[in-house]
Chain length 83, copies 2
Protein backbone atom coordinates (compact mmCIF):
# COMPACT_ATOMS: atom_id res chain seq x y z
CA UNK A 1 0.00 0.00 0.00
CA UNK A 2 1.12 3.52 -0.72
CA UNK A 3 -0.19 7.04 -0.35
CA UNK A 4 -1.46 8.93 -3.40
CA UNK A 5 -2.57 12.48 -4.09
CA UNK A 6 -4.80 12.81 -7.11
CA UNK A 7 -5.96 15.97 -8.78
CA UNK A 8 -9.16 16.72 -10.68
CA UNK A 9 -9.56 19.88 -12.72
CA UNK A 10 -12.58 21.32 -14.49
CA UNK A 11 -14.83 21.09 -11.42
CA UNK A 12 -15.68 24.79 -11.34
CA UNK A 13 -18.61 25.61 -9.11
CA UNK A 14 -18.50 22.28 -7.25
CA UNK A 15 -20.62 22.46 -4.12
CA UNK A 16 -20.08 20.94 -0.72
CA UNK A 17 -22.89 18.49 -1.46
CA UNK A 18 -21.44 17.46 -4.80
CA UNK A 19 -18.03 16.89 -3.21
CA UNK A 20 -19.62 14.79 -0.44
CA UNK A 21 -21.64 12.80 -2.97
CA UNK A 22 -18.58 12.10 -5.15
CA UNK A 23 -16.64 11.01 -2.06
CA UNK A 24 -19.50 8.76 -0.91
CA UNK A 25 -19.60 7.12 -4.35
CA UNK A 26 -15.87 6.43 -4.18
CA UNK A 27 -16.10 5.04 -0.63
CA UNK A 28 -18.94 2.73 -1.64
CA UNK A 29 -16.77 0.76 -4.08
CA UNK A 30 -13.17 1.54 -3.07
CA UNK A 31 -12.79 -1.77 -1.24
CA UNK A 32 -13.11 -3.67 -4.50
CA UNK A 33 -9.69 -2.30 -5.51
CA UNK A 34 -8.17 -2.20 -2.02
CA UNK A 35 -8.24 1.60 -2.08
CA UNK A 36 -9.20 3.96 0.74
CA UNK A 37 -9.94 7.60 0.04
CA UNK A 38 -9.01 9.46 3.21
CA UNK A 39 -9.79 13.04 2.45
CA UNK A 40 -10.59 15.49 -0.34
CA UNK A 41 -10.26 19.26 -0.68
CA UNK A 42 -11.95 21.41 -3.31
CA UNK A 43 -11.48 24.87 -4.75
CA UNK A 44 -14.78 25.67 -6.49
CA UNK A 45 -13.36 28.84 -8.02
CA UNK A 46 -10.61 27.20 -10.06
CA UNK A 47 -12.43 23.87 -10.21
CA UNK A 48 -9.59 21.91 -8.63
CA UNK A 49 -10.13 18.91 -6.34
CA UNK A 50 -7.36 17.07 -4.45
CA UNK A 51 -7.94 13.56 -3.09
CA UNK A 52 -5.65 11.77 -0.65
CA UNK A 53 -5.78 7.99 -0.66
CA UNK A 54 -4.09 4.80 0.45
CA UNK A 55 -3.98 2.32 -2.39
CA UNK A 56 -2.04 -0.53 -3.95
CA UNK A 57 -1.37 1.52 -7.13
CA UNK A 58 -2.27 4.69 -9.03
CA UNK A 59 -4.17 2.49 -11.48
CA UNK A 60 -6.39 1.18 -8.68
CA UNK A 61 -7.17 4.76 -7.61
CA UNK A 62 -8.05 5.67 -11.18
CA UNK A 63 -10.27 2.62 -11.70
CA UNK A 64 -12.43 3.69 -8.74
CA UNK A 65 -12.58 7.32 -9.85
CA UNK A 66 -13.47 6.25 -13.41
CA UNK A 67 -16.26 3.95 -12.27
CA UNK A 68 -17.78 6.76 -10.21
CA UNK A 69 -17.62 9.14 -13.15
CA UNK A 70 -14.80 11.47 -12.17
CA UNK A 71 -11.44 10.27 -13.51
CA UNK A 72 -8.42 12.10 -12.09
CA UNK A 73 -6.25 14.30 -14.29
CA UNK A 74 -3.12 13.49 -12.30
CA UNK A 75 -2.29 10.83 -9.72
CA UNK A 76 0.97 11.11 -7.80
CA UNK A 77 2.41 8.65 -5.32
CA UNK A 78 3.47 10.73 -2.29
CA UNK A 79 5.81 8.48 -0.31
CA UNK A 80 7.17 11.43 1.69
CA UNK A 81 5.03 13.19 4.29
CA UNK A 82 5.75 15.72 6.98
CA UNK A 83 3.55 17.37 9.58
CA UNK B 1 -8.54 32.15 8.23
CA UNK B 2 -8.97 29.75 5.36
CA UNK B 3 -7.49 26.49 4.19
CA UNK B 4 -5.06 26.44 1.26
CA UNK B 5 -3.40 23.72 -0.80
CA UNK B 6 -0.25 24.86 -2.52
CA UNK B 7 1.75 23.00 -5.10
CA UNK B 8 5.47 23.07 -5.85
CA UNK B 9 6.89 21.50 -8.98
CA UNK B 10 10.47 20.95 -10.07
CA UNK B 11 11.47 19.23 -6.81
CA UNK B 12 12.64 16.00 -8.47
CA UNK B 13 14.68 13.81 -6.19
CA UNK B 14 13.59 15.58 -3.01
CA UNK B 15 14.50 13.49 0.02
CA UNK B 16 12.64 12.97 3.26
CA UNK B 17 15.25 15.12 5.02
CA UNK B 18 14.96 17.94 2.51
CA UNK B 19 11.17 17.92 2.86
CA UNK B 20 11.46 18.00 6.65
CA UNK B 21 14.03 20.81 6.52
CA UNK B 22 11.86 22.92 4.16
CA UNK B 23 8.86 22.36 6.44
CA UNK B 24 10.87 23.32 9.53
CA UNK B 25 12.00 26.53 7.83
CA UNK B 26 8.37 27.42 7.04
CA UNK B 27 7.23 26.61 10.58
CA UNK B 28 9.97 28.78 12.05
CA UNK B 29 8.57 31.99 10.51
CA UNK B 30 4.96 31.15 9.60
CA UNK B 31 3.62 32.96 12.66
CA UNK B 32 4.83 36.28 11.30
CA UNK B 33 2.15 36.05 8.62
CA UNK B 34 -0.47 34.25 10.70
CA UNK B 35 0.02 31.10 8.62
CA UNK B 36 0.19 27.51 9.82
CA UNK B 37 1.50 24.77 7.56
CA UNK B 38 -0.25 21.60 8.66
CA UNK B 39 1.11 18.94 6.40
CA UNK B 40 3.09 18.33 3.23
CA UNK B 41 3.28 15.42 0.81
CA UNK B 42 6.00 14.87 -1.77
CA UNK B 43 6.44 12.82 -4.93
CA UNK B 44 10.21 12.76 -5.54
CA UNK B 45 9.76 11.09 -8.92
CA UNK B 46 7.72 13.86 -10.56
CA UNK B 47 9.12 16.52 -8.22
CA UNK B 48 5.71 17.60 -6.93
CA UNK B 49 5.10 18.78 -3.38
CA UNK B 50 1.68 19.58 -1.89
CA UNK B 51 1.36 21.72 1.26
CA UNK B 52 -1.81 22.12 3.29
CA UNK B 53 -2.08 25.28 5.38
CA UNK B 54 -4.40 27.50 7.38
CA UNK B 55 -3.77 31.13 6.52
CA UNK B 56 -5.35 34.55 6.18
CA UNK B 57 -4.64 34.64 2.42
CA UNK B 58 -2.81 32.94 -0.44
CA UNK B 59 -0.42 35.89 -0.47
CA UNK B 60 0.53 35.24 3.16
CA UNK B 61 1.26 31.59 2.30
CA UNK B 62 3.42 32.66 -0.62
CA UNK B 63 5.36 35.24 1.40
CA UNK B 64 6.45 32.53 3.85
CA UNK B 65 7.37 30.10 1.06
CA UNK B 66 9.32 32.83 -0.76
CA UNK B 67 11.27 33.81 2.32
CA UNK B 68 12.28 30.19 2.91
CA UNK B 69 13.40 29.83 -0.70
CA UNK B 70 10.67 27.66 -2.19
CA UNK B 71 7.87 29.73 -3.73
CA UNK B 72 4.77 27.76 -4.68
CA UNK B 73 3.76 27.36 -8.31
CA UNK B 74 0.07 27.29 -7.43
CA UNK B 75 -1.89 28.18 -4.31
CA UNK B 76 -5.57 27.25 -4.11
CA UNK B 77 -8.02 28.11 -1.38
CA UNK B 78 -9.83 24.85 -0.57
CA UNK B 79 -12.95 25.91 1.35
CA UNK B 80 -14.59 22.51 0.82
CA UNK B 81 -13.30 19.42 2.60
CA UNK B 82 -14.64 15.92 3.03
CA UNK B 83 -13.33 12.90 4.90
Amino acid sequence: MATFMDVHTGMKGITSEQLAEAHRADLAIEGEEGVHFEKAWADPESGTVYCLSEAPSAEAVQRIHERTGHPADEIHPVPLTVS
